[in-house]
């Protein structure tokens, strides 16, 4: 299988282009926030609270007089960090499990997959509440909760893709020359399913951003004074009549980011999935 994807087709794919651009902008914004934000978010300016968007505060100020643009910039860090690490946890544990299940089959496969079902059936929010009850709220616990939820997703995708590959001729050939299960998995199975995993990673990343927003909305995510998009929405809800911009902009930030990542995932699928490519 070849993986030649020309620069031309990358640009021709509109989803990929828009998605990648949005993702890039959000990434740059998060990176920039480490070095610079329009205003400091750690000092409160109560006198300037609930100001609508203006030249000095592009997106207005919140109930503590903090600049909402600066809050969104710094809040993106929490979103991206939580989503990234939880995808890493899910992929890091889930993919090896799925590959192992596919390679071994039989009892190992059965046990791993039923265990997967068990985690999968458990709502992420509920496990987050449990983890919070034990360790207290915080971004790290949000990561653990979302990460655990990601494990079965990656394990299933990896297993499914691997099973389809195990019956292919080139794997049979590899077996015939005496390669072991582990060797075959690393040399042949994994490279040939990388595209599927990358796409799944992008989707889980956007779900992670949504989950982080949900958890911090109910107070289980990053704690104040660290800004986070979900908590900004929560704090805005009683002030919607007074200052709708307080809810609008963090909401838009979440929507645009998730949209961007989904478009990127769609685009990547179109570009990387050989079946779809041949269908054009």
């Amino acid at each position: 299988m070849k993986r030649a994807t020309s620069t031309k087709s990358l640009i021709a794919n509109r989803s990929f282009l828009i998605g990648a651009t949005i993702t890039l902008i959000i990434g740059v914004m998060a990176g920039l926030s480490f070095a610079w934000t329009p205003y400091s978010v750690s000092t409160l300016d109560i006198v300037a609270k609930l100001k609508p968007p203006s030249i000095s505060h592009w997106l207005g100020t919140d109930h503590f007089g903090r600049d909402i643009l600066s809050m969104i910039m710094i809040g993106s860090r929490a979103s991206i960090f939580v989503a990234f690490v939880s995808v890493a946890i899910g992929a890091g544990i889930g993919i090896p499990l799925g590959l192992w299940a596919a390679a071994r089959g039989g009892l190992v496969d059965e046990m791993l997959m039923r265990f997967n079902d068990l985690i999968f059936a458990f709502p992420a929010l509920l496990s987050a509440v449990m983890i919070t009850a034990i360790f207290g709220p915080g971004a790290i616990n949000a990561i653990i909760a979302i990460g655990i939820f990601n494990i079965p997703v990656f394990a299933r995708v990896a297993r499914g893709a691997a099973l389809a590959l195990w019956v292919r001729e080139f794997v049979l050939a590899a077996r015939a020359i005496g390669k072991g299960e582990g060797r075959i998995t690393i040399d042949h199975i994994l490279p040939n399913m990388a595209n599927i995993l990358i796409i799944q990673g992008t989707i889980q990343f956007s779900l992670g951003i949504l989950a982080e927003a949900g958890l911090s909305y109910v107070g289980l995510g990053a704690q104040p004074p660290m800004p986070s998009w979900g908590r900004m929405l929560f704090e805005a809800q009683t002030m919607i009549g007074l200052a709708p911009h307080m809810a609008l902009f963090p909401g838009l930030a979440i929507v645009v980011t998730v949209l961007g990542l989904n478009l990127l995932g769609d685009g990547l699928r179109d570009l990387l999935d050989p079946k779809l490519r041949y269908m054009r």
Binding site: S42, T43, L44, P137, G219, P224, P225, T238, G241, L242
Partner: protein, 493 residues
């Protein structure tokens, strides 16, 4: 349309032929923020209990009126002996409990003896500490003898914790409260609402409402929505300060900002370093700008306080200047205390808006003098367990809503861990004398001592932010005691 509306609508239709079309409404739905754990005011400290039952279901010998004054209740009148130690109460006759049993002097003796018994689960045993003996002279006369004269005795007997219960029903009052009041419990749908209905056999002037429903709405956004939609017609303590302006501008509603007994303080663990150093506590007090906290957390509602005393009390001293916001002084005090670079600590915040929002503002202000206070939000159950009971905390914010509670700083087991012999001596003296110039002077000295020692940072007096339908009359403006007294409440059209 929710079930309640359907029900109301149905009731209205059913009543139409019999009632004249101009008859005023006789039912009311009130919003409350916290659900009471049970309904026995003699067995729990939760303000939410008294907010349902005080003056509505249960009554004491005396009661607190809307202005904070002591009024007769089940006791028609009383006399005090010259040495101030013997009170003789004359009781109302023909008073019946909700279950039909008769109220007499025996019930008073039973209730007071039960409350001050060693095994009593009363949350405010201190109220009864002065009582030596209770005798029932005849069915309508009770004689209470005190160990020493107590200036607060009649006031103490007016608390919800001192209501009169019947021996027949005392043990089941938690779920089935049986009192002598103008309302009786009709139904309690746990987690949703508590309904009380008019007591037709009430001894005093009867209630104007036939039915009152307390709907439990903890979420401030939902409280706003429920009022706007008319699902709830009155919120005696409205939790969403930011939307009050919206109701003030709306002629359908009346907004009444009154006072409460709620001194809001940032408590510090006085036995735990570095808070055992008075300079650290003073530094923290000077680092906090009360006005900013009130503007930011309360949207301007609340009166700054400099000690632990309500501003509407005649003996109040404004001591806010003693700990005025002064960042440079705070920094200097912190350096003198040996923490020139500041330190790291924690701030545990219970759920109310004043604590969560106020805590964020205070943490930002403390950061200016180098103190990094990590914010730890806790639920009420956790707060009661970790902070209040086990004193496992550094700093916390809470409003003390009991009236006349200056003495909590003299209590050994209280969560402040403040142990000051001079202050304890002052409280002892105060409790022994009656109201008068001497007592006022002592109150002022005690306030000054607290303002200097700063066992907690005194922030502001919690306002009573009442929002209700403009056609409702008779709800209290102020909150001199934890209560939603509905006896005089009525619709005006």
């Amino acid at each position: 349309m929710n079930i309640w509306k359907v029900f109301l609508f149905g009731t209205a239709i059913a009543l139409l032929p019999s009632a004249t079309s101009f008859a005023a409404k006789t039912d009311l739905v009130l919003g409350i923020v916290l659900e009471p754990p049970h309904l026995d005011p003699t067995a729990g400290a939760a303000a939410a209990i008294d907010e349902i039952v005080y003056a509505n279901i249960f009554e004491g010998l005396t009661r607190i009126g809307p202005k904070g004054d002591v009024l007769p209740a089940l006791a028609e009148s009383w006399t005090k002996s010259d040495d101030g130690k013997v009170y003789t109460f004359k009781l109302h006759k023909d008073v019946k409990f909700h279950d039909g049993t008769t109220f007499d002097a025996g019930d008073v003796k039973f209730s007071l003896d039960r409350a001050r018994n060693e095994k009593s689960t009363n949350a405010q045993k201190g109220l009864f500490a002065a009582i030596d003996t209770v005798e029932s002279v005849d069915p309508l006369t009770v004689k209470v003898t005190l160990r020493q004269p107590s200036g607060d005795f009649l006031y103490n007997m007016a608390w919800g914790d001192a209501v009169i219960v019947a021996p027949e029903s005392a043990d089941t009052n938690k779920d089935k409260p049986v009192g002598t009041g103008p309302f009786k419990l009709e139904n309690w749908a746990k987690g949703s609402q508590i309904v009380i209905a008019k007591n037709p056999d009430y001894w005093g002037s009867p209630a104007q409402l036939n039915k009152a429903t307390f709907r439990i709405i903890p979420d401030p956004a939902a409280a706003t929505a429920a009022l706007l939609a008319g699902d709830v017609q009155a919120f005696p303590v409205f939790p969403s300060y930011e939307t009050i302006a919206q109701f003030q501008a709306d002629p359908r509603f009346k907004v009444v900002i009154g006072t409460t007994e709620g001194e809001t303080v940032m408590g510090m663990n006085n036995k735990k370093p570095p808070f055992d150093n008075v300079k650290v506590r003073q530094a923290i007090a000077h680092a906090i700008d009360r006005k900013t906290v009130i503007d930011g957390a309360m949207f301007g509602f609340g009166t700054p306080i400099g000690s632990f005393f309500p501003p509407h009390h005649p003996a109040y001293l404004d001591l806010t200047a003693e700990t005025a916001y002064d960042s440079a002084l705070a920094k200097k005090l912190l350096t003198e205390a040996g923490y020139p670079e500041g330190f790291k600590t924690t701030l545990k915040l219970p759920p109310p808006t004043y604590a969560r929002r106020g805590g964020e503002i205070i943490a930002a202000q403390l950061r200016d003098i180098g103190i990094e206070a990590e914010i730890i939000p806790v639920e009420w159950a956790q707060w009661l367990d970790q902070v209040f009971k086990n004193k496992n905390y550094d700093m916390t914010i809470v409003s003390h809503t009991e009236p006349n509670d200056l003495n909590i700083f003299a209590r050994d087991d209280y969560y402040f861990n403040y142990d000051s012999p001079p202050f304890k001596a002052m409280i002892k003296e105060i409790e022994a004398i009656s109201d008068g110039p001497e007592r006022t002077e002592l109150y002022r000295q005690a306030q000054k001592l607290l303002a200097a020692d700063e066992p907690a940072v005194f922030l502001f007096q919690l306002p009573k932010t009442g929002v209700w339908d403009a056609k409702i009359e008779g709800l209290w403006e102020n909150g001199p005691i934890q209560a939603n007294d509905l006896t005089a409440v009525k619709w005006t059209d």
